[in-house]
Symmetry: D2
């Protein structure tokens, strides 16, 4: 490796799989910083790109450095950058937004019409270095464990979801106990849920959910979800649904269990259009529903920081597997197994 | 007719059609008042019961006096009633609620788990008299025109829908311009919508929508709804969707036009489960959606009263046809034609 | 004592002090239940009536049975009562509301214009029995400890206050650590406050505050409150103020520390009109402020129940002193000392 | 005048009065635009600076070009500017914010801790040219009348205030009918207030208030404000208070008339700390109060644009007097008289 190149995991061409490559270290634009990556973690989206599904094929333009959950150290700053400082330990917000559109100008940066996602629309962070807008580099305390710093982006999805409803003293159902669902369970507990019920189709994850505070963790296909939660709630159902799976059956179970006047936050991505009982699930029930995308910029980051620093949410059990960048195939294999929490990569 | 009987439109037995009948004048329970009906109006629900569709067959238990949009004069009071006064001119809230369940006890009476709807679950008001809980009799000024007093229940649906979102200075799409949709258009204008676009499949109703303040009224099947509204909104789409039709294509058009971060209130009842583009219409769009049922008890009545008394909403053009109770078959024929506003019946 | 009389603490005539008396057991009206009192607790309001200050003299009309924080068993029901059941263990909501005024009809029963407070406007519960509207008797699990059941009314003030703002992941200042302030601290912790700072003028209560979860407990007169909290918050101040003292200096300190855009909930009753820095504390700061009175009927009761049953808030340390009804003078002496949590009386 | 200088109204030194001066045309920084001023209008703040009161003396650092309500044409752009275009007709947001602090990053730019106000903290727009951050230049349609374009900044205060509460179908009291109060009255009408009552101490302004839609306009000192509004509201008082005066008596009258559970938005700046009936005006009344400062960046601008373009609010009667820059002494004399709407200056 020369002084000007770095190793990176890339999608070299349209098609399945990734490749280790030696690529140029990115140069920084005037508003950017160069971050020396200390750790990255794998998201479900990365798995889609790895497998090269329809969505990936329609959006990703290889060659591309992949990866969007990243923490590291600021090692260089563009001409216009005043913060963060060189040497600061930062976690990255993955959506680079324009600051100019009507969404950005009204506190809705997560809906920016010009957003570009690192590792998807531009080079990402499964690499030794990444260049990114300075405002996307969120300063951490220098001693924050890597395992927590690297999760902040993904934890933000959980916080955004749990904070999108009022679950104080309420009974909450979390459908889907993958990593974001798990962090959502912990968050719901931390902000006063009366009870948290979880469903998933992996026993591994259901055990994990119980350890993170779920009162009841049910297998969506093998357990009588509706019967069990109705019994647990004295026939009433739940006040709040946090839908993290995108699975049509989970969506249906969740809304069937939602009380009239209840609230639902929807983060899970469905496989496509679904059949949905509009009248009973929404209209007659007077449900309040909100779609959740990304993190609110930058409210969610402040909220996530508060939960972590106060100790209200402990993310330390979440990372269950660690690999070197070069071992990416093993890492993706673990990730695909459903028998993991978060999988972390280090350069 | 003896002194103890009255004429009424009834559903005599399971099956299509109604019948004029001579039935006993109802007696009042301790918390009830007896109201001498001055006018009633026909709702889409009445048409369903008239035709005896699946929903009616599963819910209505004949024999039953039908009709739930009613105004009249209080002529008798049960032992426990302290208001309204004998002689007061009242409009009726059609949902008789229990005051005891957790919904009633938390300001969500419209979701009462023991609600009984007049004209559906108990005798209604297409008759000379109706007995109903005193709290359901909403006092009007003595000189309020019958045509306005009789509409208050149905107007409440429009108010509940338009007030369920924030449409101040926003661009609003109303899908469905039947009577409730029309009143919703007028309400949206009155509370500061920047623009109101309407769709329907009846040219008669689209003309009506324009007269009530719609900036653009489009035929949902024959016009290029999506193209026209995109042009009108400089490509952005609408901030708010008020879905009053229940038609799957209208739902799809409405959500396709809804801006990211937009709000939708849903009153229209779909023909059954529908196919819905979960990801693009809700999740990625971060839409905020609320189902609307009945009227908020009793917030909506206060709000509706405010809009009427200030002159902000003028309901006088809404009633387009008037019939005597006996002419109910003609009245329902007009109602079914799609070429009417509200149809009023008088005893 | 005959079968028809009971012992009770009464205010016999206008003037300081109370008296034990033998009075008739109350008879129940059709909507009322008779409750055999199992425990009662003393509120600051009771102390005002005991001392017969200006407020008491202007409102209370002796002779009167005092006391409004009460739990007990339903032993008789009026003719119209369908719930709770005879034998149920209940806590009492102290405000008897009319259900008819516009406030009651719009989910704002705590603002009822005809409210009558037991122990103040009508006979209370420092007695063997009390008659009260059935809807004011809130069912408890039969095994709920007396020390918790008796606190529900007062705990409701804390819940109402803490739930009136959004304190999730926020830094919160609670000014005033009397019993309600203490329960507010515990509640704020339970629903996700990032940090809770408390002030009071009693070292006893500051110690108590720390035991219930305050991160910092400061003497409002002897410590440098503003300096200490500014240091603790890196100069920023607090996001949320929960004002439980009514003390003008606490109000001033609290608003001086409140961040721009912050929220304040105000429960404390000031000694009279106060001098207030309108511009800097409200206008320029864009503060959001809400006055808090009583409990939201009945939302707060459901929320309080949720926090207790989930174990999120543990009220068991709150009752620090127990007396028999007859020992009321000793009880009020302890209460006046400032060296107590809640003081409980049993018949 | 050379090609590099322009005429401007300046505060030359600490002390009363202004002066016409020939000063350099400002140069643009990379993120700025140069705007050729077409019109400016006078704000109460300008009058304070003109008179050189305590507030001015403590904040303003002469020499300074004054004026912050400005519209004009973009004639030059800094190196980093991509919008607006050269030649665009723009109105200026007067607060230049940092985009970096936690307020700016959470949609609360109006609370930016580094804000600099043109005409107060840096050179303003009573001049032929002004340089300002590009994001502060809000594009108008080319044919928007000068009299409306110049008011957008000040209209934004009215919109911010009226939109800070829910006044749909509510009875609203506006205390203070200066220009912002007048625009607030028009806005309240446009977004569905049931009734608008206004108070002021100028008969000229009360007449103006009536023309803009106030149902009742009362002299705060000579009329029986409380009696008259109680009669008008059947003894209930108002649902919403919009406090635009800062006058202690108006604040007291306003809160005395506010219903329990009512909402108040406070824009008026008081002469200093005031005596305030904390218990009856806030706590017992469970009032919801919000301080209002500036405009929400940039929500308010979008909302204001919506109201103007839909015709819901007609600002054309507001400008009552027009002067050339050179006539500034006459302009300020009119402004001080209380017998004007807005006073406009043109270069």
């Amino acid at each position: 490796m020369s002084a000007d190149t770095m190793k990176a995991i890339i999608k070299p061409t349209a098609g399945p799989g990734f490749q280790m490559a030696e690529v140029p270290i990115p140069t920084v634009a005037p508003n950017e910083v160069l971050v020396k990556v200390k750790a990255a973690s794998i998201c479900g989206t990365d798995l889609h790109i790895y497998r090269w599904d329809d969505w990936s094929a329609s959006r990703v333009r290889p060659p591309l450095v992949v990866g969007h959950e990243v923490c590291g150290e600021v090692v260089e700053r563009g001409a216009n950058v005043t913060e963060p400082e060189i040497g600061e330990f930062v976690s990255l917000e993955s959506h680079v937004v324009c600051n100019h559109c009507s969404y950005c100008r009204t506190g809705q940066g997560h809906l920016c019409e010009n957003t570009r996602l690192i590792g998807v629309d531009r080079d990402g962070g499964f690499a030794e270095y990444i260049a990114i807008d300075a405002q996307n580099a969120w300063p951490n305390p220098p001693d924050l464990p890597l395992e927590i710093a690297v999760l902040q982006e993904n934890f933000g999805n959980a916080v955004h979801t749990a904070f999108a409803v009022d679950l104080r003293a309420k009974k909450v159902l979390v459908t889907g106990a993958g990593p974001v669902g798990l962090m959502t369970i912990a968050t719901a507990r931390a902000i006063g849920a009366r009870a948290v019920y979880a469903t998933d189709i992996s026993r591994y994850r259901l055990d994990f959910a119980t350890r993170l505070g779920a009162d009841l963790a049910l297998h969506a296909q093998e357990d009588d979800v509706i019967g069990a939660i109705r019994r647990e709630t004295e026939g009433e159902g739940v006040d709040v649904l946090l839908e993290m799976s995108g699975a049509p059956t989970a969506i249906d179970q969740g809304f069937a269990l939602l009380k009239p006047g209840g609230e639902a936050a929807l983060l899970g991505v469905a496989p496509g259009p679904i059949e949905f009982d509009w009248n009973h699930h929404l209209v007659f029930k007077s449900a309040r529903v909100v779609g959740v995308y990304g993190r609110r910029l930058w409210h969610t980051w402040y909220q996530a920081r508060g939960l972590i620093r106060s100790g209200a949410v402990d993310l330390s059990p979440l990372v269950t597997h660690r690999f070197k960048l070069e071992e990416f195939d093993s890492a993706f294999e673990v990730m695909a197994s459903g028998e993991s929490g978060k999988v972390m990569l280090t350069p």
